[in-house]
C-alpha cells in the first residue's frame, strides 16, 4: 500500500506531459486520456478511504532516519490527507468530463488539459507532503498553473483579472518563503513532525509568534479571507466555468484551509490568542461576504462572493474547536465543532462546483451572464434547472440536503461552547444566503418571458451529454452526502480526519515513532 503515495504525484505529472506532446498531433487523444487518468485517480482514492490503514509514511529515495534524526523527504498520508485527496480527485474528474464539450470553442485545447493535470498534481503534492519546503514547491506548481488557466480564453477581462491574481499571489508566496527561512534558522530542520518536536522542547520566543502571524496572513490570502479577499471576485468570475468550479471548489481549500489546519494544529502548539484571531477572521468573512453578495447582478460574481462567506463557516468551526482545546475545555464540544467544519468543507466543494457548472451551462446556451437580461429558461433546459434548484436548496441549508446538517452541527457546537453571539450571526447569514439564492433562481430560470428568446435569435435547448453527466452526478452527491450523519459512515470517513486534529500533539509521535 505504500506504493500508492508517490504515484499520486507522478501519474498526473506524466499524463500532463504525454498529453502535451501527442496532443499537438491529435486533440481527441488528450481529451480521452486525461479523463481516463483522472477517473482512475478518483477510484483509487475512494478505495484508499475504505482501506483504513493510517498513517502511511513514505520516505522518498529510501533515506532512513539516522540516529533518530530524519534526513530524507517524507510523504505522509493520514486521515486528514485522504479526506482531502478524495475531494480533489473526484471534483477534478467531474470538471474535466464537463470541459470535454465546453472547451471545444477555444484554440490550443491540448494546453488546457496539460495545465489542468499539472494543477491536480500540485494539489495532490501539497496534501501529501510531510516536509515544509516540499509543500511550498507543490503550492507554487498548483498556483502558477491556475494563473495560466484563469487567462485561458484571451479576452480583456480575463487578462486583467489574471494579472491582479498573479501579483497578489506572488507576494503571499514570497512571505511564505521568508517565514520558512526564519523557521529553519530557529530549529535547523525542515520536517514537519521534527519541527513540532523541537518546538515543544525549547522555550517560546517572540520570533515564533512573528512567524505565526506572517503565515496566517499569507495563507489567509490563499484561502480568501477578509481582508485578503480582493483577488477572488475578479479571478473566479472571469475564468472559464470548469476552471471556476475547480478554483472555488478545490483550490482555496487544498492550499488555503488545509495548510492552516495542518500548521496551526500539528506544527505550532495551540495558543489562545491565535485561536481568537482565527475565529474573528472567520466570523468577519462570513458576515461581510454575504452582505457584499446580495447586491450583485452578475451570476458568477455573486457565486464568488458566496465562496468567501462559506469558507468563513469552515474557518469558524475550526476556530471554535481550537478555542475550546486551548482552554482545556470539554473535548466532545471541540470534536463536534471540528467535525462540523470539515463536513462543511466537503459539502461546499460539491454544491459550489455544481453552481458554477450550472452558470457555465447557462452561458454556453445563451452567452449572457447578467441576470437582468435572463429569464424563462426552466422550460427549455430541464436538467440545468433542476440541478440548480438542488444546489441552491443545499447552500441555503434546507433539509434533507447536505448543507443543512453541516450548518446545524456548527451552530449547535458554538452554542454549547458558550458563544451565543456567533450562533445568532451564523443563523442570520444563512437567512440572507437563502434570500440571495431565491433571487438567482427567480431571475435566471423562472421569470417567464417566453417569446423574448426567439426575438433575439437564440434557441434554448439542453446542453450536450458530458456536461449533463457531471451536473447530475454532483446533484446526486448532494443528497448522498447527507448520509454522513449516520454513525457507521461517519466513523469511516470523517472521524479519522477529526482525530488527527483533536489529538494534535500526537502527530510527531505517530510519524517518527518516538
Amino acid at each position: 500500500m505504500e506504493i500508492f503515495v508517490p504515484l499520486y504525484v507522478a501519474i498526473p505529472l506524466g499524463c500532463a506531459f504525454i498529453g502535451a506532446i501527442i496532443g499537438i498531433f491529435s486533440k481527441a487523444f488528450s481529451r480521452l486520456f486525461t479523463s481516463l487518468v483522472l477517473a482512475f485517480m478518483a477510484g483509487l482514492s475512494v478505495y484508499l478511504i475504505l482501506l483504513q490503514k493510517f498513517p502511511i509514511v513514505y520516505t522518498v529515495g529510501g533515506w532512513k532516519a539516522f540516529n533518530r534524526v530524519p534526513i530524507g523527504i517524507y510523504m505522509v498520508m493520514d486521515g486528514l490527507s485522504v479526506y482531502l485527496i478524495t475531494i480533489v480527485n473526484v471534483i477534478g474528474f467531474l470538471s474535466v468530463f464537463y470541459s470535454i464539450s465546453y472547451i471545444k470553442r477555444f484554440t490550443g485545447e491540448n494546453y488546457y488539459y496539460s495545465l489542468f493535470s499539472l494543477m491536480i498534481a500540485g494539489m495532490n503534492g501539497v496534501v501529501l507532503s510531510g516536509d515544509l519546503f516540499n509543500l511550498y514547491v507543490f503550492l507554487e506548481i498548483a498556483a502558477i498553473s491556475s494563473y495560466a488557466l484563469v487567462a485561458f480564453g484571451i479576452e480583456k477581462e480575463q487578462l486583467e483579472a489574471s494579472f491582479k491574481y498573479q501579483v497578489l499571489g506572488g507576494i503571499s508566496s514570497l512571505f511564505i518563503l521568508l517565514s520558512i527561512g526564519l523557521i529553519y534558522w530557529y530549529t535547523s530542520t525542515l520536517n514537519i513532525a521534527d519541527i513540532s518536536r523541537v518546538l515543544s522542547q525549547k522555550s517560546f520566543p517572540k520570533t515564533i509568534v512573528f512567524v505565526e502571524i506572517i503565515l496566517l496572513s499569507a495563507f489567509g490570502l490563499k484561502a480568501a479571507m477578509i481582508p485578503f479577499h480582493a483577488w477572488l471576485p475578479d479571478a473566479h468570475s472571469s475564468a472559464p466555468s470548469p476552471i471556476s468550479s475547480m478554483l472555488s471548489g478545490v483550490l482555496i481549500k487544498a492550499i488555503g484551509a488545509y495548510v492552516i489546519m495542518r500548521l496551526f494544529f500539528n506544527l505550532f502548539a495551540i495558543s489562545y490568542s491565535i485561536a481568537y484571531v482565527i475565529t474573528v477572521i472567520g466570523t468577519i468573512s462570513m458576515v461581510v461576504g454575504v452582505l457584499l453578495a446580495i447586491g450583485q447582478w452578475d451570476i458568477k460574481r455573486l457565486l464568488a462572493y458566496h465562496s468567501i462567506s462559506q469558507m468563513g463557516y469552515v474557518i469558524l468551526g475550526i476556530g471554535i474547536g481550537m478555542l475550546v482545546i486551548s482552554k482545556n475545555g470539554n473535548m466532545d464540544i471541540a470534536s463536534l465543532a471540528i467535525a462540523g467544519g470539515l463536513f462543511h468543507l466537503f459539502n461546499h466543494a460539491v454544491f459550489k462546483g455544481l453552481l458554477f457548472l450550472n452558470a457555465g451551462a447557462v452561458e454556453y446556451v445563451t452567452g449572457i451572464r447578467d441576470m437582468k437580461r435572463l429569464g424563462g429558461l426552466a422550460g427549455g433546459m430541464p436538467i440545468t434547472a433542476s440541478t440548480s434548484m438542488s444546489a441552491s436548496m443545499s447552500i441555503s441549508g434546507i433539509p434533507p440536503f447536505n448543507g443543512f446538517f453541516s450548518k446545524l452541527i456548527i451552530i449547535i457546537a458554538s452554542a454549547k461552547a458558550g458563544y451565543y453571539v456567533l450562533s445568532i450571526l451564523a443563523v442570520f447569514v444563512s437567512m440572507i444566503t437563502l434570500a440571495s439564492f431565491l433571487k438567482v433562481q427567480r431571475f435566471t430560470f423562472f421569470n417567464d418571458n417566453g417569446e423574448k428568446w426567439s426575438e433575439r435569435g437564440i434557441t434554448i435547448k439542453e446542453v450536450p451529454f458530458p456536461m449533463c453527466f457531471s451536473m447530475i452526478f454532483l446533484a446526486v452527491l448532494c443528497i448522498v452526502l447527507s448520509f454522513m450523519v449516520f454513525p457507521s459512515v461517519r466513523e469511516v470517513v470523517l472521524m479519522p480526519a477529526v482525530n488527527v486534529l483533536l489529538k494534535s500533539s500526537m502527530y510527531s509521535t505517530n510519524i517518527l515513532g518516538y
Binding site: 506531459f17 504525454i18 502535451a20 499537438i24 520516505t59 522518498v60 529515495g61 529510501g62
Partner: protein, 146 residues
C-alpha cells in the same frame, strides 16, 4: 528584427561553439564542482539566443513556430519521470527515486550512481524551455508591431 553588423556575426560564429562546450562541461561535472543541471542548461540556452540575436529573426534558417523545442522539453521531462519510476520496478528495490547504478570512488567522473544522468536530462530540459520562452516572446512582439 534585423541582424547586427558583419563583425558581430563573425565573432558570434566563432564564440558560439566555445560557449556551448563550456555549458556541457558544467553539466557533466555537476557532482564534483558547483553548477549542475540548471546552471549548465541556462548557459546552453544563452548560446542559442546569442545566435538568434546576432543573425536577426528574418534569417531563412529560423523556424517560425516553437513546436519542435516544445516537444524536446516535454520529452526530457518524461525521461526524468521514467528514470525515477524505474527505481520502483527494478527487483530488490521498491523505492521511488532510488540511486541504483554503482557508485565509484569519490572524485572520479564516473561516480555517484544516477546523478550525472539526472543532470544531463535537467540540462536539456532547461535549455529547451528557456529557448522556447525566448522564441515565443520575440516572434510574438513582431506580430504585434506590424
Amino acid at each position: 528584427m534585423k541582424g547586427m553588423t558583419i563583425i558581430v556575426k563573425k565573432v558570434t560564429q566563432i564564440l558560439c561553439g566555445i560557449i556551448f562546450l563550456y555549458g556541457i562541461y558544467i553539466i557533466l561535472h555537476g557532482h564534483l564542482t558547483p553548477g549542475g543541471g540548471f546552471a549548465g542548461g541556462a548557459i546552453i540556452a544563452g548560446a542559442f539566443i546569442l545566435l538568434v540575436i546576432a543573425f536577426g529573426s528574418e534569417s531563412p534558417y529560423l523556424k517560425r513556430s516553437e513546436s519542435s523545442t516544445s516537444i524536446v522539453e516535454g520529452g526530457a521531462i518524461l525521461a526524468f519521470l521514467i528514470i525515477a519510476v524505474l527505481g520502483l520496478s527494478i527487483a530488490g528495490y521498491r523505492i521511488f527515486f532510488k540511486n541504483f547504478l554503482p557508485k565509484g570512488k569519490v572524485g572520479n567522473l564516473l561516480s555517484a550512481g544516477l546523478l550525472p544522468v539526472y543532470n544531463i536530462v535537467v540540462g536539456i530540459e532547461v535549455a529547451a524551455a528557456l529557448f522556447t520562452i525566448f522564441l515565443a516572446l520575440i516572434i510574438y512582439r513582431e506580430e504585434v508591431s506590424k
